[in-house]
Each structure stands twice: as C-alpha cells, then as structure tokens.
C-alpha cells in the first residue's frame, strides 16, 4: 500500500514554501489553518513530514509547536532538520513525532542516527538525500559535511550503510523542488540496487498526474509534496482520487464521529 506525504517547512514560528531550496515565508500555524485548512488537508494524506528549516533548532520551541500540530492530526508525523543529540530526538518523540528525519547528519554524525534507531527502532528513522544534476553530468547528493568533501554520486551511494541506519529514504530533487514540473523518475536508474529500504520521492510534484505517475512506479513507496500552492483546496483529495483511479493501492479511512463506538 503506497502513501502520499504532505511536507511542511517550518522555522519554529512560520511555515514556508520552497523553490530549488530557496524559501518563501507563508505564515504561522494559525495562518496556515486559516488559509490552507492544514488540519483538514491532513485527512487526504497518509503522513505529515515537518522539516525544520531555520539554521539552528530551538528544540523546546519546536517541540511546543509540534505538540499543537499533533493535537490536531491523527496520522504519523515525521520531523527533521536540526536534531543534534539523542536528547533532542527524545524531546521530539515525546511531543508527538513518530519518526525523525536526518539529512546532513547521515554523513556528519551517523553514530547519532544509529543511536536514535537503536533506541526507537530503525523504522523510526528516515534518511533524506538531497540531490541535483548539472547538465550533462550524473546526479550527486548535496550535503554539508564538517570537512570539505566532494558530493557523492548517486551511483556511488553507500546503500548498505544507509539501509542499516534508516527504515526509509527520501530522494529529494533539488532541481525540481517547488517547480511543479514533476519528479524526475529517471534519476532512480542511477542508483545501485537497494533492496531493503523503501524510497520516498520528493520534489517537483505539481499535478495529480505527477503523483499518480510516481506512485505507479514499483520502485517508489511514497511521494512527498510540500507544494501547497498546487494542492490547496481539493488538490490533495483530487491527487488521492486520481491515484486510486489509476490503480494505485492507497489506504481508505473513515472520518471519526462520536457515534462510531457504542457506549456501554
């Protein structure tokens, strides 16, 4: 069964849109609910992923906002972007996070990623791989390493060590991020086989057809879209219906009402 994941970019106060990893401020959680009905949008997706995009994460403040989000969403919430210690991960799990996403930390501090996986289970860890492709060249992973090091070619990705750290991997296209041009599925052909870790495709989704096409690819377990402009209104619901209509296996669920269970 495949999944549609809604990505939210958050700096601890406000939410953002992104295009090629350049951010545009939207507003705070109340603004997002008022203008995008964020809590209602969640009824059309399988998960929410919150990316902390500020340079430094204030864990306590982030955890408080996460609590507010978790009070209104009854689906899995993944968070990432700035977790630097097991204590910070603990605080986020306690506040409603179900999984922690790691990007640069995969390379800078794999011991921390392993520590979180040992404590909470590898299924609670998601690795995020941000990649781009210069014209005429092979795609490469872009990461901020402590020491200067060259980007990692997708075809040289240490897939076995990544699979030992994370339950799932997000493949995020920087080039397509926020463009609405669709996820470049052809990138997947550059990977060595990675049997044990499901892929989540992110970057470029701008239409229901893009979502259906990616979910129809047997190599893709889930799609992650942060493109609120493309999917506002009934966009996410339409994307889900279109994917179902094209034969993609997606979950169905009920809306909760107090009459669902008989009192006794």
């Amino acid at each position: 069964m495949k999944r549609i994941i809604l990505g939210l970019l958050f700096d601890g106060v406000d939410f953002y849109l992104s295009r090629n990893f350049r951010l545009q401020r939207l507003g705070n959680m109340a603004w997002l609910q008022e203008h995008f009905g964020i809590f209602d949008l969640a009824s059309h997706v399988d998960e929410v992923a919150v990316f902390h995009v500020a340079r430094k994460m204030e864990t306590k403040a982030f955890a408080l906002e996460l609590r507010e989000l978790a009070r209104n969403l009854f689906i899995p919430i993944s968070v990432g972007g700035g977790v630097r210690s097991i204590e910070e991960a603990d605080a986020l799990f306690r506040s409603g996070a179900d999984r922690i996403m790691f990007s640069n930390t995969l390379w800078n501090d794999p011991n921390l990623v392993h520590e979180v996986g040992t404590k909470y289970g590898k299924q609670s860890v998601i690795g995020v791989l941000n990649y781009s492709r210069a014209e005429g060249q092979d795609p490469v992973i872009r990461h901020r390493h402590r020491e200067e090091s060259p980007p990692i070619a997708l075809k040289e990705l240490p897939t076995e060590s990544l699979a030992s750290l994370a339950g799932e991997l997000v493949l995020q296209s920087i080039d397509r991020d926020g463009t609405g041009q669709g996820f470049p599925l052809e990138s997947l052909s550059h990977f060595k086989e990675l049997r044990e870790t499901p892929w989540i495709a992110a970057g470029g989704f701008g239409s229901t057809a893009h979502v259906s096409q990616a979910l129809g690819d047997p190599r893709i377990e889930a799609v992650l879209t942060s493109n609120l402009l493309a999917f506002v209104g009934s966009g996410l619901e339409s994307a889900r219906q279109a994917a179902l209509g094209s034969g993609v296996d997606l979950a169905s669920w009920d809306r909760f009402s107090m009459g669902d269970s008989n009192d006794s």
């Binding site: 069964m1 979950a251 669920w253 009920d254």
Partner: protein, 207 residues
C-alpha cells in the same frame, strides 16, 4: 473505580496517545505509580522503542508486576505496537528480557525478501467469530510502523492479520481481557480513533 488508565513508564510516544484520547472525549489518567494501577478498570499500554528498554522501565517503575496482577484479576488491558509485543514472553530484539507473559507468544524480527521494516497503512483482515459463509470478510486500513512482529503460539487469539510482502503479520490479538494491536490506532485516522474509543468505553477490542 476509575475508567481508563494509560501506563506511563517513560518510554515512547505518550503525547500522541494523549491527544487521541482527548479528541475522542473519554476521561483518562496517566498511571506512573504501581499503587495506582488497581484503581482502573481499563489499562492502555502504549509503546515505541526497543523491547529491552521498555521491560527495564516497567520493572524499575514497579508497573510490570502490578499490571500483571490487574490483568490476571480481569482488568481489560490493551497493548499498542511495542505494547502488544510486551504482552508476550520474549523478543528477539532484546534477548534476556522477559515480557509480561500474559500471552503465550514470542516476538521475532521481520524478515522478508524486500525489507526489514513495515511502515505505512496496511489492510487488516479482521477475524470474525461468526464465520458465516457468503459474508464479505471485514477489513480496515490501519497505520503500522515496526521492525518486529508478535508470533502467538495459540493461533486462536489472533484477531486480525495483514498479508504483506508474501507473509502474514499478526495485527491484533485478543485473549479474554488481554488484547493488543500492532498498528497505531492513534495514528490511523478515524478508524483508529474508533478502536480507542471502543476500548475506553467498553473494555473490548472492536476493530
């Protein structure tokens, strides 16, 4: 006697369970002291993380023994995810640690040709007691996120199964007043909240 107690042993995602219970509008209390356990007619055992760490915390807090006493006296007990695995005897994840032993079951690692973790919404085939022919089998989609699975020795306690990657995973168990779900009802949209409300109000597992 109070109604619903949520066992808080310092491990896992208490906030999400708390949020879900608030949403469905049932009274509940956190239970962190062994002396409090007997005050409740229904107990919820959440769990995220490693089996061994959870067993250690249950033993350190003194909750493990009291929960067993209450369950053996007939108190309804529902384990969620790791909480369901803790109801069994042991787990491959943490050898040398003993679970609550309320179910004759062991927990083993997920091993399939494709993956070692099971994450996402999955369709659960729900066991029905009637077994009438001509009736559509009952299914529901719930959210799973786990790397280990419970294997009961007595298959009659299996209340729900998911078929996944060519194998079957026990999704729910029911043995009189002791029950468990491998999925996360607090993360499974409306049908998950209905499972929690059903347990809170009736002490029964209603998938």
């Amino acid at each position: 006697m109070k109604t619903l107690g949520v066992l808080d042993y310092g491990v896992g995602n208490m906030q999400s369970v708390a949020n879900a219970l608030d949403k469905i509008g049932v009274p509940w209390d956190l239970v962190s002291e062994p002396g409090q356990v007997c005050r409740y007619g229904r107990l919820l055992l959440p769990g995220v993380g490693a089996f061994g760490a959870a067993v250690s915390r249950l033993e350190e807090t003194g909750l493990k023994e009291e929960v067993c006493v209450s369950a053996n006296a007939g108190t309804s007990l529902l384990g969620i995810c790791l909480g369901m695995q803790l109801l069994g005897r042991s787990s491959e994840e943490s050898t040398g640690y003993t679970g609550l032993g309320l179910l004759d079951a062991e927990t083993v690692a997920i091993t399939s040709a494709n993956t070692t973790t099971n994450t996402g919404f999955r369709t659960v085939d729900i066991a029905t007691s009637g077994g009438a022919s001509g009736v559509e089998p009952l299914t529901r989609d719930y959210y799973f996120n786990h790397g280990y699975r419970l294997v009961p020795n007595d298959l009659s306690i299996v209340a729900g199964v998911l078929s996944w990657n060519g194998s079957e995973v026990v999704a729910a168990v029911l043995s009189d007043n002791v029950m468990g779900v491998q999925f996360h009802p607090e993360k499974s949209q409306g049908q998950g909240l209905s499972v929690l409300r059903g347990f809170a109000l009736s002490g029964e597992l209603r998938l």
